[in-house]
Symmetry: C2
Subunit: 281 residues, 2 copies
């Protein structure tokens, strides 16, 4: 209960209670990473829409789409336990793609060119297409995305500027297992042994943070590859250091830019990604 | 949890969750009548503002203003028990009357001329002034008023049209004691004996409902006065039958208009009012 005496305080209190719609787009197979986004959305909005839609256009490998975990029933139980007030949006292909399941072509410049953009042709056009479709249907005030897919987050920031719908894009920190493995729906298809080993992706990135003033990017990359590919069945797709503003991998760091480490690793035929902010002393 | 598949159903669900501010203006001394308004407001809005302000300009008798029950502490306990989310607006005189405590002059035509308008000079200008001050400060989507003050309700409907702020005015049924006495803050200053007798105001109005096809308005008025003034210390201020649209007391009823019975009764120096819809067979 708020007890208010002045007209000014009343205006402020009423402004704070304006309705706001928060959107958390997901492909289901929900884990604690998603839940942390949804909890934050609940705390910041009067209405929260969680979309669950496995978007065909963002899968560059058909096999990955087919294998993607589908756990709608248990997802709904999880969501209901989080809040009884959620709107769960589970659109059909026809609803999101009335013109047929194809991506639009976007120009995101260097943001979409490297790393995931290079390794997964068409992936970001697919992501942007479905996010635009969700944004235009839900018209959220705020939309929540995990920083694990940091390149995706920056592309959505760029898309948001292009759409000019006034949506606030909120990037949320990566949730990890106790060992450090970044939570991902794809982890569910890893064995316990693979998961344990995969935590070394993060652990190695952490080690590299401390080498920033002494090692070159090439030395960092060599260390990362050697360390990770020593694990049976692990193959590094890429290791990169890039400024957060343009996401162009660099070999030398400018003093005034913010960089992150980015890595993609195949574990068998499962591809994991991770990223870590490079904090300079 | 709502699970939604189509864009149309999504639009509907989101529209239902739009923020709306409900205002329940009160002068405190809250009873079940107020609480029923507030409960309805809670059920129909995302934010509810309950204003508590004893408005000096609507008291035509200074003695009535001085004696008006002031129970803010217990009011707040009651409100907190109803909902933890309420905004309680307790403005100072200076906040609502920055230009000094005087009424504006309104033209409500016949709505303000008879019954309470005749018995309480300046009352409705005072009511309209404070309601306009509250409306312009709170800017509610919906505002709730009890039908006990039916003439006031119609004047607020007229004020609302004049202000053209798009507010929805919601009149709520009278709450009564088991014996039928209309709940009113003024009842708290009645003795148990007086309250018991005062229930005859409603009971007599109910009896009159059945006489509509056989008795003239004069006969009804005579019956009401005789019955009520037989009670020690009771004096009828007025008894009237008026159409809800113009609130002009009539002696004969037109077939197609909706009428109500209106009565004001002094119990000692406490003035009670009541009203009842005239349902014709």
């Amino acid at each position: 209960m708020q007890i208010i005496k002045t007209a000014e305080a009343l205006l402020t209190a009423l402004a704070q209670r304006k309705a706001s719609v928060g959107l958390v787009p997901t492909m289901g197979a929900l884990h604690q990473g998603h839940l942390s986004l949804i909890k934050r959305a609940i705390s910041e909005n009067t209405t929260v829409v969680v979309s669950i839609y496995i978007n065909p256009t963002q899968f560059d490998r058909k096999e990955d789409l087919t294998k993607y975990p589908r756990t709608l029933a248990s997802d709904l139980v999880l969501l209901e336990s989080l809040s009884k007030d959620l709107i769960i949006y589970t659109p059909s292909d026809e609803t999101l793609y009335p013109q047929g399941i194809v991506s639009k072509n976007y120009d995101f410049g260097s943001l979409a060119t490297h790393m995931e953009g290079a390794s997964r042709p068409g992936h970001f056009n697919g992501v942007a297409t479905v996010v635009e479709a969700l944004f235009t249907r839900v018209k959220p005030h705020k939309a929540y995305f995990g920083e694990k897919d940091f390149q995706q987050l920056q592309i959505i920031n760029a898309l948001n500027l292009q759409l000019n719908m006034g949506i606030e894009i909120i990037g949320c920190p990566i949730e990890r297992t106790a060992e450090g493995l970044a939570l991902s729906s794809r982890n569910t298809v890893l064995s316990e042994e693979q998961k344990k080993k995969a935590a070394q992706i993060y652990q190695t990135l952490c080690l590299l943070i401390d080498t920033i003033d002494t090692w070159s990017v090439n030395q960092m990359e060599h260390f990362f590859k050697t360390k990770i590919e020593a694990l049976a069945g692990f193959k590094v797709d890429y290791f990169a250091v890039a400024a957060v503003t343009d996401l162009v991998p660099v070999k030398t760091l400018e003093p005034d830019l913010n960089y992150r480490l980015f890595a993609a690793v195949f574990v068998g035929n499962i591809r994991l990604i991770d990223t870590l902010e490079l904090v300079r002393k």
